[in-house]
């Protein structure tokens, strides 16, 4: 926020400057010229476009007209020099209420379209043809410059420019009388909107920052940047913000999005067809004059009539697919304490949402509560009870409950009388104070079945995940208790931290109606966890691993952040009119639809901004997608198919937030150590041949080995779409060791203490993730392989919902060679009938950062034992360390001269032949599992106490393909050496053919590029092929 303010002032200065010297830079004039050219549009067409807003979707003509509209809007509203102050009809239309004004303002915005923007368009598109002389007067230099500046600011502001002060200031110069008029009209709002503008701007800026990165990489981006630089003198921050809008107006294809507002009215917004969700959302918020918008979101109905959240970071079109462009503005994150919201207007919208929830029955209330909340609604909307005005049936228009009885209405009236004197804001407050206590307040419910096929509901809320059976809460998992959330196909899993008396974390599975539902639930979990539990959303990895599309993460602010930002809101309480949420008859502000057209023009412009970003993304994606081969011979079964991932169909999902390592009990650590030792031995001996571990042996007995070379094609042939799920995992570890100046504490004994203090960002990350990774086993599990692949599932007695047993042990093979977090468990326990492969193929995972319940404190009795053990381990550790040091010297260069590759294990298993699968619910999934590990001989000197940090995880999902990248960075300090170990795991899941080798090669290449000073020490390829059909989705 501070920055924003800074920006604002800066801009103002600039404005002044501009005012003083009206001479605009030449380039600008030029720009303006071109813009003017663009503006020459057949009025007719324009008109048409305006009228046809709705039909505009794919029609080319309409596209054109839309394009035309924009300039025209500019012309109309703005052009001070133009003799006629063309006031848009919308503006003049009688009875323009607040919204109308806003819209009008939005229209006005168009006048601020940056000329350079247009220029850019013409440059890139090479179509400056239709120039008419008409606009010439507009080109007056001083004006132009001013205009461009204003544009900079205005576009972001959206519909409010007519209103805000700075705008007024600016206008005062080459002013047009019209502007003044407008100001007057909006004078009420004028004072208030400024902060809103700021915020919006900030958002835009942030977005831009991202875009910039993307754009750097492609030519278009360069161009844009050039433009930006040119403009930079005048418009600094704003410019950036505007950069993205530089879409050629002509290409703009706009669509009208109908957004159902909380008041129950549908409002059209026009956006560019390829705009991202954020664009639309911002528009809606602008329209609502809402600053604290992080609690809100847009939903759409997918084909199966499921409500989905529109992802702000993703193109709208890609999300809604064939669904109509209809959305609903809703509360996404219900603030647990609404009184902490800064603005009344925010609370008002929250109230509207809650009234809706209550009336629809989504938020169950008792009779008494219905009555009480209803009475507050009345007070807020009607004011004090007035016996004269409020006849018996005055409330029959309101709906207070799903089923409204006379008795209820009477009670409402009775209570309404008692609220005399409450202001609307106070009444809203009271409403919220009571509503927030409702047990289902803010709980997002999802239908599911438990492991036994019993219908349950899963509720995601601020504090965690709730499990309901019928209306009864039967279980609850607070976020700190949840180590990981994942889904695989239609199964949804949570990994739960072990309780005090339990040794192992447990994996609990639920069956959702279909894959989409599982994904939706997963996403909601990730978002809620991020929003309510984290201080800030974790940064997406800078890594360009398989950069195939736009990067996704929870892009919004967290509650902490939004609260912080809200404290800086400094505007007089905005005026807004309360309407009965439940009376559809009254539209919110009576805004005439007419005005919408122009308004939407601005929108579409903004959309262009995003579109640009998208394009950049896509370019990148394609770049990344180009076939590439490393010199590393990675896969024995190499095929050379090009990676069939197109940027278009892909988005990246990122979910660091909940990725957190497990906290192990000491016992586990011990077991783990034991297994590590064994594994290490096997590695250190550098035996060319794989040395079967316990798991392998077991595998060998349970699972018939498969030939290594089984080709994918073969399998593919057997399977249809959706039937075959090919999963490939690649784990690449990079290890860098550097001398550590300080002697760090004895790592072996106090793993927690081992976290290097000066690690900067990682340190932060560590703190954020609090309890995570305090034990040595953590780092191992993470560094070797994600914690997900448990050789078996350990159940906790009390609260267990048994996990779906669908998972075959596709990871067995891997387990065998890679030191896992629980290998020891595996050794100690009988081979499970089915091993839980744990849902990580798709790798959407979240780990809670659970400071609170985090560490089950190591049992004291074990300490002794532990100490002994660590002694022993230490010895081993030394040895390995020295070895690895040597290796490091050799490998420490950008191109590892030779990466010694050892195939530690190759095991192919055909899990489908296991006979002991006892699945009831879930179709048996036959999986073919292949795991190949490549590893430099230097290995794993770090069996103890290195804290691991999972830095990032992202998933790229295409229609038939899902790629997940998980990056885990482990830093550890050993005897003066600091080792950084980066593990990247890429999971590609798809139903179609995947060129694994290609993907792998690409991954390795990228890994090298990203960390030139590190060496690839291990590559594990694990392939699982699902052979049977899955009867879902």
């Amino acid at each position: 926020m501070t920055t924003e303010t800074g920006l604002e002032t800066e801009v103002k200065k600039e404005l002044k400057q501009t005012e003083e010297e009206p001479a605009a830079p030449e380039q600008k004039t030029q720009v303006q010229d071109e813009a003017a050219q663009q503006q020459q549009v057949d009025p007719k067409q324009e008109h048409k476009g305006a009228e046809k807003t709705e039909e505009r979707s794919n029609n080319k003509e309409t596209l054109q007209s839309a394009t035309a509209e924009q300039p025209s809007g500019e012309q109309n509203t703005d052009t001070p020099p133009s003799p006629k102050p063309a006031i848009p009809s919308a503006q003049t239309s009688p009875g323009v209420s607040k919204k109308g004004k806003e819209q009008a303002a939005g229209k006005g915005i168009s006048r601020f379209l940056p000329p350079w923007l247009k220029k850019q368009k013409s440059q890139s598109q090479v179509e400056p043809k239709e120039s008419l002389g008409r606009e010439d007067p507009v080109k007056e230099e001083g004006y132009v410059q001013e205009k461009s500046e204003e544009e900079g600011r205005k576009i972001e502001v959206g519909g409010e420019d007519g209103v805000d002060k700075p705008a007024e200031d600016r206008r005062s110069l080459p002013q047009d009388s019209k502007a003044d008029e407008k100001e007057e009209k909006h004078s009420i709002n004028s004072a208030k909107t400024e902060p809103a503008k700021e915020e919006t701007r900030k958002d835009t800026l942030e977005k831009d920052a991202d875009l910039e990165e993307e754009e750097d990489k492609n030519g278009a981006g360069e161009e844009i940047q050039k433009m930006i630089k040119e403009e930079a003198k005048v418009q600094k921050p704003e410019l950036k913000a505007e950069k993205s809008p530089e879409k050629p107006p002509k290409k703009m294809k706009t669509v009208v999005c109908k957004v159902m507002m909380l008041e129950g009215t549908e409002f059209p917004f026009e956006v560019e067809k390829r705009a991202k969700g954020q664009v639309l959302f911002n528009k809606v918020c602008e329209n609502l004059n809402l600053l604290e918008k992080d609690y809100f979101g847009l939903t759409y109905r997918s084909n199966n009539d499921q409500k989905n959240w529109l992802d702000p970071a993703k193109e709208i079109k890609r999300q809604i697919r064939s669904s109509p462009w209809q959305f609903a503005f809703s509360v996404k994150f219900y603030p647990p304490d609404p009184s902490q919201l800064t603005e009344d207007i925010t609370r008002y919208y929250l109230c509207l949402q809650l009234r809706q929830d209550i009336a629809s029955g989504c938020l169950p209330c008792s009779f008494v509560t219905h009555a009480l909340l209803g009475s507050y609604s009345l007070q807020a909307e009607l004011g004090d009870y007035d016996p004269e005005e409020h006849r018996v049936d005055y409330i029959s228009n309101f709906q207070f409950a799903p089923t409204q009885t006379k008795e209820l209405e009477e009670k409402v009236i009775e209570l309404h009388k008692t609220h005399r004197g409450l202001t609307p804001a106070q009444a809203d407050n009271q409403f919220l104070e009571n509503a927030k206590k409702l047990s289902m307040y803010g709980v997002d419910l999802h239908h599911a079945k438990d492991s036994e096929g019993v219908d349950i509901m899963l509720g995601v809320c601020a504090s965690g995940l709730l499990v309901y059976k019928d209306k009864l809460r039967i279980n609850r998992f607070a976020w700190p208790k949840i180590l990981k959330v994942s889904y695989k196909r239609s199964n949804f899993y949570i990994k739960v931290r072990p309780g005090e008396t339990e040794q192992f974390e447990s994996m609990i599975g639920f069956k959702l109606p279909n894959h989409r539902a599982a994904k939706r639930l997963w996403k909601v979990c990730v978002e809620h966890h991020t929003f309510f539990r984290l201080a800030s959303p974790e940064q997406p990895p800078k890594a360009k691993f398989l950069t195939l599309g736009s990067k996704f993460r929870y892009s919004g602010r967290t509650q902490a952040q939004t609260r912080q930002a809200s404290t800086l809101i400094d505007r007089p309480a905005p005026y807004f009119k309360r309407t009965s949420s439940n009376r559809v008859s009254r539209s919110l502000d009576g805004a005439p639809v007419v005005s919408v057209t122009n308004h939407s023009l601005v929108d579409s412009l903004a959309a262009e901004i995003n579109g640009k970003g998208d394009a950049a993304d896509k370019d990148n994606a394609e770049e990344a997608g180009t076939p590439f081969r490393t010199q590393m011979e990675l896969s024995p079964e190499s095929k050379s198919k090009s990676l069939r991932i197109k940027g278009e169909n892909i988005y990246v999902r990122h979910s660091n937030l909940m990725l957190e390592d497990l906290d192990k009990t000491q016992e586990e650590v011990l077991k783990h150590h034991a297994s590590i030792c064994e594994l290490k031995r096997s590695f250190m001996e550098s035996t060319p041949e794989p040395r079967p571990s316990q798991w392998e042996k077991r595998l060998a007995t349970t699972l018939p080995p498969m030939t290594l070379g089984t080709s994918d094609e073969k399998q593919k042939a057997e399977m249809g779409e959706e039937v075959e799920v090919v999963i490939e995992e690649t784990v690449i570890e990079e290890i860098r060791r550097t001398a550590k100046l300080k002697n760090s504490p004895d790592m072996t004994k106090s793993p927690a203490a081992a976290i290097p203090s000066g690690e900067g960002e990682e340190e932060k990350a560590l703190k954020e993730q609090a309890s995570k990774a305090n034990t040595s086993s953590d780092s191992h599990s993470e560094s070797e392989d994600e914690a997900d692949y448990h050789p078996q599932l350990v159940k906790v007695a009390v609260d267990q919902i048994r996990e779906e047993s669908e998972e075959n042990d596709e990871e067995l093979g891997k387990e065998s060679q890679v030191p896992m977090e629980h290998p020891a468990e595996g050794i100690l326990l009988p081979p499970p009938p089915e091993v839980q492969g744990v849902a990580d193929e798709e790798k959407q995972e979240c780990k809670a950062h659970g400071e609170d319940e985090a560490l089950s404190s190591p049992a004291e009795k074990k300490t002794e034992q532990e100490a002994e053990k660590t002694e022993e381990l230490k010895v081993n550790g030394e040895v390995s360390r020295s070895v690895s040091e040597v290796n490091t010297q050799v490998i420490y260069c950008s191109e590892p001269p030779v990466v010694k590759t050892e195939i530690v294990t190759i095991s192919d298993t055909f899990a489908g032949q296991k006979t002991d699968i006892s699945t009831t619910e879930v179709p048996i999934v036959h999986t073919e599992t292949k795991t190949i590990t490549y590893e430099a001989s230097q290995l794993d000197g770090s069996e103890d106490g290195e804290p691991g940090i999972l830095m990032s995880a992202q998933t790229i999902t295409a229609e038939s393909l899902c790629t997940t990248t998980t990056t885990h960075i482990t830093k550890s300090v050993k005897g003066g050496l600091s080792e950084t170990r980066i593990e990247k795991r890429i999971v590609i899941t798809g139903d179609a053919d995947i060129d694994h080798d290609q993907a792998l090669a690409q991954a390795i290449k990228e890994a090298k590029e990203q960390h030139p000073d590190m060496s690839v020490t291990r590559v594990v390829v694990h392939k699982e092929t699902e052979l049977t059909e899955e009867g879902e989705d």
Binding site: F367, V368, S439, L472, R476, A478, D799
Partner: protein, 283 residues
Amino acid sequence: MAGTSGYGKFTHAVVRGIPDSFGKSKATGSDGEEVDLAKAQRQYGVYTGILRQKLGLQLIEIPADSTLPESWRVEDTAIIQGDTALITQPWDKDRRRETEAVRKVLEELKLRVVDGADDESATLDGSDVLFTGREFFVGLSSWTNHKGAELVADTFRDFAVSTVPVSGAAHLKSFCSMGGPDTIVTGSSEGAKQALKAMEQLTDHHYEILTVPDDAAANCIYIRVGSNNNYLLHGSTEEYPESAAAFQKLTDYTLLPTSCSETSKLGGTLSSCSLLINRRLDL
């Protein structure tokens, strides 16, 4: 309303006299332990006296009915929160008639009386329901089943209603109760521990836990009088010396040791002998 501020505040108490048939119920009287009717009635007198005189509650005494030997356990017949009363459906069909008189009283008090019993298969004993001021825990015991718990959820929709497995021959409140607005008093038996663990798992809220050695002593009655005068009825020192000592940890409380040794022989508890209501009729 879903308010918690008023937790522990009560205006009325509904009790029912000890009938002559005390201890002759086929369901509970069969374990052979001798009960002393006169003593039980004396204890009842003391109990009601405390409610009336020490705590200033308006006492509504339903006359004893000898055809209903267990009717003194009025807690089982209704669940009251705020202005809403849910008439339960006791597992013991012989006891269902007990609810009639109670319902009348509650209606007279102008509570919203909700009849849960439209499903014969639902069973619900009031002493399996613990209201903490923030949420309900319903013990799934020998007397209360899932459907019974649903009645609670249906009636008190403002609140989370969580189910807690209760093992053995106990009601949920046989070994735990509220000792204050955010304090759960619980016994030390394995069953009590498990139930407490389940509750802690299920709740969004953090409760203070006061553990007492005896399960039965963990059933007490917390009542707040005035702005901040905390009263706690708990088992007498003679019956539960160690547990009574444990209650000394509660500061700013007026402790009221109350004996219910006779009723407890029949599975009764302090709380089971009354229904507490916070109802201002002038509203």
